[in-house]
């Protein structure tokens, strides 16, 4: 065994968008172990959500993550709608699908740009982000905002898509499709990207299943798993689109899956916008009866899962969020170990990690160590006071 060195990356590193802390243990050039510490971004969103009523919570949930600002409200509203039997109006389902797919395009393009930046290939970064601006324009036409759309509410959508906006939005999507095709062809043909990403950070199909990898991370390894197909929501079962699955599981395949998915998302958006049915956009929920509800949707990074428990009042008593990155993070153990340090950056970025989504408090059973409950802690505190009082001779 050679000499082992620890390379710390973070928690506030100029390369990283958000704070997280990687510890790479290296032997020469090779990475032999990796540890990820998160928690620098925790804001107590689940607790905040329990203080707000069902409608207000949507806005807090939207700010779990700036990139997934549709996926979380989508999963949350589905969880609330799951508590009791109700039907979302048809037009609202279409609008939800349109916004969710627009988000998928901009999220995947954002990732492709950052991946180029991590590879030291800033041309890709600039080109892709230039294209991403066009998608943000489409979203601004449809929802009135570039990032936080505030379109979702339990029972429907908050804002209608106006008839006169559909034409310009469709024209804009059609106009960027050729650029998108050109970009995808350029990325697929580029010898530098091939050299840097092919055969790098391979996640085998078996490992993907064992780690329960989600979203493009698993689909690049040949696992055909997509909530949009397995348990259709919105109008995904009524539009024509293909699930993209590739076999190799390396970084290159993850790039390809994401880039091809943007085209599929654009197809879904065009179909939904052209066939938008007339009608109500909101089911006007009066109250939420007691009960539990779960909602899961396919976010750009994988399956986002929300659990809501209602006790019949106007606010959730418990709200649990599980973001896709939580499941994808452990795959680092399989992909990064054995690679060189210089490839580690792109492999760490390849799952499209989003740490602010993942920052939930979790209690873990630490190998037989005692886990204290609230009552135990109070008991400990009282005992300490007793000890101090007896030492001071008060009692």
């Amino acid at each position: 065994m050679g000499k082992r060195t620890v390379v710390p990356i973070g928690p506030f590193h100029p390369l990283q968008e958000e704070p997280e802390f990687f510890t790479l243990t290296v032997e020469g050039e090779r990475v032999v172990d990796i540890d990820v510490r998160i928690g620098y971004n925790h804001r107590g969103i689940e607790k905040l959500s329990e203080r707000k009523n069902f409608d207000q919570s949507t806005f807090v949930i939207e700010r779990i993550c700036g990139i997934c600002s549709t996926s979380h409200p989508f999963a949350y509203t589905r969880a609330v709608e799951d508590v009791f039997p109700m039907e979302v109006p048809e037009r609202a389902k279409y609008i939800r699908t349109i916004i969710a797919e627009g988000e998928r395009i901009h999220s995947h393009l954002l990732w492709a740009g950052l991946a180029g930046h991590f590879l030291g290939y800033n041309t890709v970064f600039m080109w892709v982000w230039k294209l991403r601006e066009e998608i943000l324009d489409v979203m601004e036409i449809l929802s009135g905002n570039r990032n936080n759309y505030a379109m979702f509410k339990p029972g429907g959508v908050r804002r209608d898509i106006q008839e006169e906006d559909i034409g310009p939005a469709l024209a804009k999507i059609e106009s960027i499709l050729p650029t998108m095709d050109m970009l995808i062809a350029a990325i697929k043909d580029d010898p530098v990207i091939h050299a840097r990403t092919k055969g790098v950070g391979v996640l085998s199909e078996e490992a993907a299943i064992n780690f329960s990898a989600l979203g493009p991370t698993s689909r690049a390894s040949g696992v055909s798993r997509d909530v949009r197909v397995d348990s259709p929501y919105g109008v995904y079962d009524r539009v024509d689109w293909d699930m993209i699955v590739t076999e190799n599981g390396d970084v290159y395949d993850k790039v390809v899956v994401r880039m091809l998915e943007t085209i599929e998302s654009a197809r879904i958006m065009v179909q939904c916008l052209s066939n938008l049915p007339p009608g109500e956009i909101d089911a006007n929920i009066e109250s939420v009866p007691p009960g539990d509800g779960i909602g899961h949707i396919e976010a750009p990074r994988g399956e986002t899962f929300h659990f809501v428990r209602s006790d019949g009042t106007n606010r959730p008593v418990r709200h649990k969020v599980r973001a896709p990155t939580f499941m994808n993070l452990p795959t680092f153990k399989s992909t990064v170990v054995g690679e060189t340090v210089s490839d580690a950056t792109i492999i760490l970025a390849a799952i499209d990690p989003c740490y602010c989504c993942t920052e939930r408090v979790a209690v873990r059973d630490d190998k037989g160590k005692k886990i204290y409950s609230g009552t135990d802690l109070v008991e400990l505190s009282r005992k300490k006071t007793e000890r101090i009082m007896s030492r001071m001779g008060i009692r």
């Binding site: 968008e17 958000e18 620098y40 804001r43 107590g44 807090v60 700036g66 990139i67 990032n147 602010c356």
Partner: protein, 140 residues
């Protein structure tokens, strides 16, 4: 205006620090660098190290993990250093004001020169904010 500040205003190099934001403001800052907005034409550059930076762009609602680190970082900056708070969270903690993990507002930790409101502020607003910062320093 001191000669140091005067030199700084010609080409302010910025350093970006996320104190626990939702990524939106950070992405809008990066957006400013990309072709449509391209703030590099004004001489602004994203610096890799705080020791090369003139302006500190802070985003996020400053949680318990990052508050000490932000202070430590601010102490390392060669002064004068200007601080810009980007987004609602860093201005007033926004909707995280009741959170148990966001104890103090940003301006209790470091002195802030310019606040840019918005959730997230558009890239145009960020550019306008930096222009305001330059005007403010020039007129002081």
């Amino acid at each position: 205006m001191s000669i140091k500040l005067k030199a700084l205003l010609k080409s302010p190099w910025v350093f970006h620090f996320s104190t626990g934001s939702c990524n939106n403001c950070d992405i809008e800052i990066l957006d400013c660098l990309t072709p449509r907005f391209d703030i590099e034409r004004f001489g602004m550059l994203l610096a890799g190290s705080i020791k090369h930076a003139d302006v500190l762009l802070v985003t996020g609602s400053c949680n318990r993990m990052s508050a000490d680190r932000l202070r430590k970082l601010y102490d390392q900056v060669p002064k004068p250093c200007l601080v810009v708070a980007i987004g609602e969270c860093s201005m007033s903690r926004g909707m995280f004001i009741h959170s148990y993990n966001c104890p103090v507002p940003l301006d209790h930790i470091v002195p802030v020169d310019v606040y840019i409101p918005g959730c997230p502020p558009k890239p145009e607003a960020i550019i306008a904010g930096v222009v305001k910062l330059i005007e403010k320093v020039r007129s002081s």
